[in-house]
C-alpha cells in the first residue's frame, strides 16, 4: 500500500538524516585535528563515496546472511545471541541494515563539507575562545557550532533529499523487506511500474513524491542562500 510505503520512507528519513549529520559532524571534528596520519585518514574517509550502491548493498547482504554471515558469527562468539538469526526477516533490523548500506556511501560528502567549514573558521575566533578559558565542549558549542550552522542546515536538507533517492540498497538487499517494511516510495514506484505494469498507480505515486521533493528543494535553496550570506561575512 502506498501509505505504508510513505511511512516507511518517513521512518527511513528519520533514521538517516540525523545519523548522517551527527556522524559527519563527528568525523569532521576528528579529521580537523592535527595528528600523525590524519592525511591518510582523510583520504580513507573519502573512499566509500566511490563505491557503487549495489556493491555496498551486496557487502551488507552477505555480511548479515543467515547461514554464514560474519555478523552472526561475531555475535555468537561474543555471546550476545544464542543461535544464528535471520536478520532480514525481522522488520527493524532489515531497515537498519538498508540504512547502514546507504549511510556508508553517503557520509563522505557531508563530512568533506563540514571539514571544509571547520577549516575555514578564522584563527582569531579560536584564539579568543582559548584566551577566555573555554573548555572543549564550550569551545565547540560557541565557536564551531555557530560557525557551522548554515553548513549543517545545508547538510540536513541535502540528506533529506537524498533519502528520497534511495533505491539501490533496497533492490539488492531486501526487495521490499519483511511485509513491505523497507519498501520505500522509490522501490514501490519501480515495482508498480515494472513488476505489476500498473503505470497509473506508479504515476500517481511519482506525483506525490514530486510534491514532497518540491518542498524540500525550496528548503534547499533557502539553506543555500543562508549559507552564502553567512560565509561571506
Amino acid at each position: 500500500m502506498f501509505a505504508t510505503s510513505m511511512s516507511s520512507t518517513f521512518i527511513f528519513a528519520l533514521i538517516t538524516v540525523p545519523s548522517i549529520t551527527l556522524i559527519s559532524l563527528g568525523e569532521a571534528l576528528l579529521l580537523s585535528r592535527k595528528f600523525r596520519g590524519v592525511k591518510i585518514l582523510q583520504v580513507l574517509a573519502l573512499v566509500p563515496w566511490s563505491i557503487p550502491f549495489v556493491v555496498s548493498g551486496s557487502v551488507y547482504r552477505l555480511m548479515f546472511d543467515f547461514n554464514f554471515g560474519m555478523f552472526n558469527d561475531i555475535m555468537l562468539r561474543l555471546g550476545l545471541i544464542s543461535q544464528y538469526r535471520s536478520w532480514f526477516s525481522m522488520a527493524w533490523p532489515a531497515m537498519l541494515i538498508v540504512a547502514l548500506a546507504y549511510l556508508w556511501i553517503q557520509t563522505p560528502f557531508p563530512t568533506l563539507l563540514l571539514l571544509a567549514g571547520i577549516q575555514s573558521i578564522p584563527e582569531e575566533l579560536n584564539e579568543a575562545a582559548l584566551i577566555d578559558g573555554a573548555k572543549r565542549f564550550a569551545h565547540f558549542r560557541v565557536v564551531t557550532f555557530n560557525w557551522l550552522k548554515p553548513i549543517i542546515f545545508i547538510v540536513l536538507v541535502y540528506a533529506s533529499i537524498m533519502a528520497l533517492w534511495c533505491f539501490d540498497p533496497i533492490f539488492v538487499i531486501t526487495a521490499g523487506g519483511p511485509a513491505d517494511f523497507t519498501k520505500l516510495v522509490t522501490y514501490f514506484t519501480y515495482e508498480r511500474m515494472f513488476g505489476y505494469l500498473n503505470f497509473g498507480e506508479a504515476g500517481a505515486s511519482t506525483i506525490i513524491i514530486l510534491a514532497v521533493t518540491i518542498v524540500l528543494i525550496y528548503l534547499y535553496f533557502r539553506a543555500l542562500r543562508l549559507g552564502r550570506l553567512r560565509l561571506r561575512v
Binding site: 573512499v47 557503487p52 554464514f68 563539507l113 524540500l216
Partner: protein
C-alpha cells in the same frame, strides 16, 4: 568481500565463516569474466550450483567495456559542455540567465523515479531503448546540472578584469575562454570530470530501466541483478564486486585533492 571472493564455493558455505581464505585462489575472478569455464568447473565437481548461475552474468565482460565507454564519454562531454555552459551563464548576460541555472539544479534534485516513466515512454518511441546512446544521454542529463553548478561557482570567484581587457583588445568570447580563463580553472575541470564519471559509474536505476540485453548494460546492473536472484553465488558476485570497485578506488586515490576542492566548492557556496 575481498575475503569471500578468494574462497572457493565449498569454503564459503562452511559455518562458522572463515575470516581469511584458507586456500586463496583467483579462480572466481576468472570465472566471472569467462562464464563458460565456470559452468564446466561446477559440472566437473558435480555440484548442483552449476544450474543456478544467473544468465545475466554472461554479459559481464561486455558490461565492463560498456561502463568504461559510458563513463568516459559522459565525463568528457561534461567537461566540454560544462565549461562552455558555465562560462556563458556567468560572463554573458542574457535573458533568462538565472532561471535557467536554477531550473537545471531543480532537475538534478528530483528523485529519478519521478521522471522514470516519461523517460521510458520517450525512449521507446524514439527507438533507442536498448542501446548505449540512451544510457549516455540519461547520464549526461543527470550529471550536467551539478557540473554547471560547480563550474559556475569557480567562474564567479575569478575576477573579470583580465577578461574585460582582452575583450577590449578584440578577442572573441571563445578565445577569452581558451586563453585566459582556462588555465585558472583547471583543478575545477578535473574535479568535475571525475565527479561526473563517478556518478555515471554508480548509476543504477536508469541503467536498469532502459536496458534489456547485455549489449548495453553497465556494471551496477549486472551486479545488482546477480545479487537480487533468489540463489546467489557468493564467490562470483564478490569477485564481480571487487572488479567493480577497482576503477572507483583508483580514481579517488589518484585525484583526491582535486575531488575535495571540487566537492566542497560546489555545494557550500
Amino acid at each position: 568481500m575481498v575475503n569471500l571472493s578468494l574462497q572457493s564455493e565449498v569454503e564459503i558455505h562452511s559455518v562458522p565463516p572463515f575470516y581469511f581464505p584458507p586456500y586463496p585462489s583467483l579462480r572466481n575472478y576468472w570465472f566471472s569474466i569467462d562464464i563458460n569455464s565456470a559452468v564446466k568447473y561446477f559440472v566437473e565437481q558435480k555440484q548442483a550450483i552449476s544450474l543456478f548461475i544467473p544468465g545475466c552474468m554472461k554479459d559481464f565482460p561486455r558490461s565492463i567495456i560498456n561502463s568504461a565507454i559510458v563513463g568516459l564519454i559522459v565525463a568528457s562531454y561534461n567537461i566540454l559542455a560544462g565549461t562552455l555552459g558555465a562560462f556563458a551563464l556567468t560572463r554573458i548576460t542574457f535573458k533568462g540567465n538565472m532561471p535557467l541555472f536554477y531550473g537545471s539544479i531543480v532537475g538534478r534534485l528530483i528523485p529519478p523515479v519521478v521522471i522514470a516513466i516519461p523517460y521510458y515512454m520517450i525512449m521507446k518511441s524514439i527507438g533507442l531503448l536498448d542501446t548505449l546512446q540512451v544510457v549516455i544521454l540519461v547520464h549526461i542529463v543527470f550529471t550536467m546540472p551539478f557540473t554547471i553548478w560547480i563550474l559556475n561557482t569557480y567562474f564567479l570567484a575569478i575576477p573579470t578584469d583580465m577578461e574585460d581587457a582582452a575583450r577590449v583588445d578584440g578577442y572573441s568570447y571563445l578565445e577569452v575562454l581558451r586563453k585566459i580563463t582556462f588555465p585558472l580553472i583547471k583543478p575545477a575541470i578535473v574535479a568535475v570530470g571525475i565527479m561526473s564519471f563517478m556518478t555515471s559509474y554508480g548509476e543504477f536505476f536508469y541503467a536498469l530501466l532502459l536496458t534489456a540485453t547485455g549489449a548495453s548494460r553497465t556494471i551496477p546492473v549486472i551486479v545488482g541483478s546477480a545479487m537480487a536472484d533468489p540463489i546467489v553465488i557468493k564467490g562470483l558476485v564478490c569477485a564481480m564486486g571487487v572488479i567493480a570497485i577497482i576503477p572507483g578506488l583508483v580514481v579517488v586515490m589518484v585525484f583526491r585533492r582535486y575531488l575535495v576542492r571540487g566537492l566542497v566548492a560546489g555545494a557550500v557556496k
